[in-house]
């Protein structure tokens, strides 16, 4: 069986930014300071009217292709909930746009904030089973197209972004084990039913879910790897909101120096948030051979965590 590693991460953020002052101008009655205190988010990236999820995904992958020959790519997994197409699969369109080999496996995964972990599991399974050696996991969403400027629950939080991660075979396995889970009874905590054009979120439900499931999930992973919080170098969780991250860290008793936050700068970028955080953390906070636990959780309800043994990325 072959092991896998994260060999590279690149991300793309749309040019247009919306900061909290702009948010306040659009919503004079909102208490922006209080919203910032809870979300920890000051900037959100907004895709332009003509800029689709496929466009931003393409831009993030192009950055990685500069560092790795596309001829060697065996798979492309696109994690998105905002494809401009219901039919066909957006990953197929990306294969053509990027002129990737026609021999690649390409498909979409419809998941939100847990999506990176799920896609990583699928990618490593392809490599473990020798079906593939190298591939891209691309997480891209343009939620802001489905959130009006006065949606108080969602507008201060969600941000558009794409992150492409290169997964390659490795003699020593650097990714896993994983702990994944689902609870569809909470499907309406964050939803966009067919025919509607506005994402609706129940913040309290999302909070109690995150407070309950994420610590339990991470503790199960720690037991599986026979480890404890103090033996892990860094915990990089989905950047949902400052309030949620603080509550998760409080429950898991994770010291501040082992956590990472970049949500003030980029907002909650759904499935792209973990790879973007990994890329940012790799510049200073995480080093070679560090043990990093990543965890994603959200819409579905769906969640997952994994252990990463960090190796310097491209």
């Amino acid at each position: 069986m072959s092991g896998s590693k994260i060999a590279g991460i690149e991300y793309y953020l749309p040019k247009k930014k919306e900061n909290n002052s702009q948010l306040k101008r659009n919503n004079p009655k909102w208490d922006i300071d209080r919203i910032y205190e809870k979300t920890g988010i000051n900037n959100r990236y907004i895709s332009s009217e003509k800029e689709t999820t496929i466009d931003i995904a393409e831009k993030s992958i192009k950055k990685l292709i500069k560092k790795f020959p596309k001829i060697k790519i065996d798979f492309l997994i696109l994690v998105t909930q905002t494809s401009p197409y219901r039919i066909p699969t957006a990953a197929c369109i990306l294969q053509e746009k990027l002129k990737l080999p026609k021999t690649i496996i390409a498909f979409d995964i419809n998941l939100g904030c847990s999506g990176f972990i799920y896609a990583l599991r699928v990618a490593t399974a392809f490599i473990e089973s020798k079906q593939a050696k190298n591939g891209f996991v691309v997480c891209a969403d343009t939620y802001t197209k489905l959130i009006s400027k006065n949606n108080a629950q969602c507008r201060p939080i969600f941000s558009d972004a794409a992150a492409a991660t290169l997964i390659t075979a490795s003699k020593k396995n650097k990714i896993g084990p994983f702990e994944l889970g689902t609870d569809g009874s909470g499907y309406n905590a964050l939803e966009l039913p067919q025919g509607k054009h506005e994402v609706v979120m129940n913040g309290s439900k999302v909070l109690t879910f995150a407070m309950s499931i994420v610590p339990e999930n991470v503790n199960t992973l720690l037991k599986k790897i026979k480890s404890k919080v103090d033996k892990i170098d860094m915990f990089i969780f989905h950047q949902a909101s400052k309030f949620i991250l603080e509550n998760i860290n409080r429950k898991l008793l994770i010291p501040k120096n082992k956590t990472f936050e970049n949500l003030s700068k980029v907002g909650n970028t759904i499935s792209a948030s973990i790879p973007i955080a990994l890329k940012d953390a790799s510049k200073k906070n995480i080093k070679n051979n560090h043990k990093v636990i990543i965890a994603g959780y959200g819409v579905g309800l769906s969640w997952g965590s994994a252990l990463i043994k960090w190796e310097k990325i491209k």
Binding site: A152, G203, S204, M211, S212, F243, K251
Partner: protein, 83 residues
């Protein structure tokens, strides 16, 4: 041992977050009628009660949507979280 909280402590915690008095919380049918209540305050209430109960709150189903203090106390009683 299970951590417990008294009803008075519940009123005090909620009152502090909503910047009012425990007496007003006791008399209120629904927290949504209090001036300073909003969805962000509800998150603060959940987090503060959970911290006081040593992380037991998130094990309670549907607690997130409860804005009636009486209902909240009843749920806590059923779960033996009230002293």
């Amino acid at each position: 041992m299970k951590h417990q909280i008294s009803a008075n402590e519940v009123y005090k915690i909620i009152a502090k977050i909503l910047k009012t008095t425990p007496e007003k919380i006791i008399k209120t049918d629904n927290l949504t009628s209090i001036k300073n209540w909003d969805s962000l305050a509800q998150l603060d209430i959940l987090s503060a009660l959970d911290a006081k109960l040593a992380n037991q709150l998130s094990n309670l189903n549907d607690i997130a949507s409860i804005t009636s203090v009486k209902k909240l106390i009843n749920v806590f009683k059923k779960k033996s979280l009230i002293k």
